[in-house]
C-alpha cells in the first residue's frame, strides 16, 4: 500500500459536468485541473484567527445555556463589524457553549456570572473588556442589555448609539427627536440593537474558544458598590399578568357562550384571559381583555383562541405571537390560516373536554 490516493476517473469526469450531468461545466478561469483534483470528503472547517487587528465585543444574555435569536443577531452584527481582520469576543451573561457561540460567529467566548448587582456591572464588564480594547461593544436593547450598556457608557465615557435600527460597517442609524427623525452617524463605541434588526451570522463557523477570565485587576473603574440589594424574582400568577405582557393567553370569541367553563379552563391552563371585540362589546368580558387593533397587542408565546374567526383587526393583535392554536367551527376562518394547530370543532364542546382532561390529570 502506498500513500498515494487512487484516481477515480468517473468522479473526475462527473465533476467537470454541471450538477445534473447534462453538459460540461463552464470553467471561466480555465482551471479545469482544479475541478479534476480529487477531493477528500470535506471536514467541517472552523475559521481561526489568532491575532486579530482589533476586537469587537458582543455582550449577550444566555438563554438556557445557549444563544437565542437576539443573541445570535448580536454576535452576527459584531461579526459584520469585525470584517475579515477583526475578532469577535462574546461576553456571555451566564453559560454559553463554545461551539454554539462559534457557529454564531464568535472567535472567543468569556462567560461571566454574578452580575446580580447592577451597580457592579460596569466595573466587571470593563475589567473583562479591558484586555481586548474593543473597537465596538454591542448590547441588546433589552431590559438588562440596555441597562448594562448605559451603565458602561456612563462609567467609561464611551459614546453610545442606543437602539440602532440599521447597522453596517460605516454607519449606524437610530431614531431620535421623538422618532420623527433618524440620526446617521459612524458606528459608536457602544451600540445597542433591538431585536430583528441585523441578520445572524451565516458563514463558516468560527472558533468560539472559551477563555478564562483573569483575576480582576485593581482597576480605577472600580467604585464602592452596595447601593442596591436585589431580592428574589416573583413570577406573576397567570391571572395577574397584564395582557400585553402575558406569555400564554387563552381567548374567547363569539363561539363561546359558557363563560364559567372558559374561566375555569383559563385557570386550569394557567393562562391569561383575552377576548374578541364582539364579546367585549356584549359585556361578557371586560374591555381590558380585548385583543386586537383597538384592544391589546399581545407579546405572548402562545395564543389559544376559542370560537374566534380572526378578523383582520383581531389578527393585528397577534403580530408578535409565536404559536397560535385555534378552535373554530369554520374551516375557512382566517385564524385557521394563521394557527399552527387548528381544530375545526365547536369550542363549546372542546372546552369542557379539555377541562375534564386537565382536572383528571391534576387530581
Amino acid at each position: 500500500m502506498t500513500g498515494r490516493i487512487r484516481r477515480d476517473p468517473r468522479a473526475e469526469r462527473s465533476r467537470c459536468l454541471v450538477p445534473g450531468g447534462e453538459r460540461p461545466r463552464l470553467a471561466r478561469d480555465g482551471n479545469v485541473a482544479g475541478m479534476v483534483v480529487s477531493r477528500r470528503p470535506r471536514e467541517a472547517t472552523v475559521r481561526r484567527i489568532e491575532t486579530p487587528a482589533f476586537w469587537v465585543a458582543a455582550v449577550v444574555e444566555a438563554v438556557d445555556g445557549g444563544l437565542d435569536r437576539w443573541g445570535r443577531q448580536l454576535v452576527g452584527a459584531a461579526r459584520m463589524l469585525a470584517g475579515t481582520d477583526g475578532g469577535v469576543v462574546l461576553i456571555g451573561l451566564g453559560d454559553v457553549a463554545g461551539n454554539a457561540a462559534g457557529e454564531a460567529g464568535a472567535d472567543r467566548v468569556l462567560t461571566v456570572g454574578g452580575t446580580d448587582d447592577p451597580e457592579a456591572v460596569p466595573g466587571v464588564l470593563m475589567d473583562l473588556l479591558g484586555p481586548f480594547a474593543p473597537r465596538h461593544v454591542l448590547f441588546a436593547e433589552s431590559r438588562v442589555g440596555g441597562d448594562f450598556a448605559r451603565r458602561v457608557a456612563a462609567r467609561s465615557g464611551w459614546p453610545i448609539q442606543p437602539g440602532v435600527e440599521a447597522l453596517n460597517v460605516r454607519q449606524g442609524i437610530r431614531p431620535c427627536r421623538g422618532g420623527r427623525y433618524e440620526r446617521v452617524a459612524a458606528v459608536a463605541r457602544v451600540v445597542t440593537l433591538p431585536c430583528d434588526r441585523v441578520a445572524p451570522y451565516a458563514g463558516e463557523a468560527r472558533e468560539g474558544r472559551m477563555l478564562e477570565a483573569g483575576p480582576p485587576p485593581a482597576s480605577p473603574s472600580a467604585r464602592p458598590v452596595g447601593g442596591v440589594v436585589l431580592g428574589p424574582v416573583a413570577r406573576a400568577p397567570a391571572g395577574a399578568v397584564p395582557l400585553s405582557e402575558a406569555p400564554f393567553v387563552v381567548s374567547a370569541g363569539q363561539g363561546v357562550t359558557d363563560f364559567e367553563t372558559f374561566h375555569a379552563l383559563a385557570r386550569a391552563l394557567g393562562a391569561t384571559e383575552g377576548a374578541s371585540r364582539v364579546v367585549c362589546d356584549a359585556g361578557l368580558m371586560p374591555r381590558a381583555a380585548q385583543v386586537g387593533a383597538s384592544g391589546t397587542v399581545l407579546d405572548a408565546r402562545c395564543y389559544l383562541a376559542f370560537g374566534i374567526a380572526g378578523a383582520p383587526q383581531h389578527l393585528q393583535g397577534l403580530g408578535k405571537v409565536e404559536h397560535v392554536v385555534a378552535v373554530n367551527t369554520d374551516l375557512h376562518a382566517a385564524i385557521i390560516a394563521r394557527a399552527g394547530l387548528s381544530i375545526v370543532a365547536d369550542a363549546q364542546a372542546v372546552m369542557p373536554a379539555l377541562l375534564a382532561l386537565l382536572r383528571e390529570e391534576g387530581a
Binding site: 443577531q73 422618532g179 440620526r183 430583528d196 441585523v198 436585589l230 400568577p237 404559536h323 394547530l341 379539555l354
Partner: protein, 250 residues
Amino acid sequence: MRSIVLLSGGIDPLSGRPAPPQGEIAAIGLARSIGGAAEGLHAGGPSPALRLAAAHGLARVDCLDGGGNAVEALATYLATYLGADPPDLVLAGRQARGGEDSGMLPYLLAERLGWPLLAGVIAVGAAADGWLSVMIGLPQGARQEARVRLPCILVAHDAAPAPPFIFDRARRAELRVVPVAGPAPVAAEGAAEGDDRPYRARPRLIGASARTGAGQVLDHPDIAEAATVLRDHLRALGVLGPSRGASPDA
C-alpha cells in the same frame, strides 16, 4: 420625603405636538405614590410639554437656564440650589422623546453624583433606615423586589401606573426659570455627530419572527381526541406544566 422628577420637553411622535412621554408620567406617579413633596425639573427653557406633565401631579417645574450641558446643569442645581434641602429621590422616565432620546441622562447624572441607580421601577414601597424598597418590573409580568440606598435615582418602568391628567393642574402649575451658573452650554459629546434626516421605517428582518402559518388542521375530530391533541400540543410548546395539568397558582 422629597422627590424630583426629571422632565423632558417631549413631543408626540405622531403629531409632533408637545406631550410628555409615558415614562415620565409613570415617574410622576411613582413620586406621588411615595408621598411628600414632588417637583419637576427640566434642563432647558419652559416648554408646553412641561405644563402637560405637571397636570399629572406636579405643582412646580423648575426650568434650568444655562449651566453647560444638561447633566452638569442638573448636578449644579441639585448641589447648590437644593444644598440646604436636598432631594431624597430623583425619578426619570426610561427615555426622553423629542431630543437625543438615548435614555442616558439618568445614568450620566447617577455617575456624576455617585448615587445608586435602579431602572425598570414599577412601584415604590416604604423607606426605612435610609433604604427604599422598590419593585422592579420584569418581562411577562414577573416582579423583583429590591432595596436601594437613598438618595438614589430611579428610572420608571413605562407600565408603572400613570396618574390621571387634570386640566386644572396644568393651568395652575408654576414653571419657574432658574438661572444656573456654569460654562456656556456646549453640545454633549457625540450629540452633534452625524446628521439627522426624516425617519424612515425599516422593516424588521423577514422570517425572523417565528410565524407559523396554516399548520396542522383537524377537521371535525372526536372531541376527546381533540382535547388530547390540544393538551399535548400546548405541552410541547412548553406553556403547560409537564407533570400536572392544573397549575398551582391558578
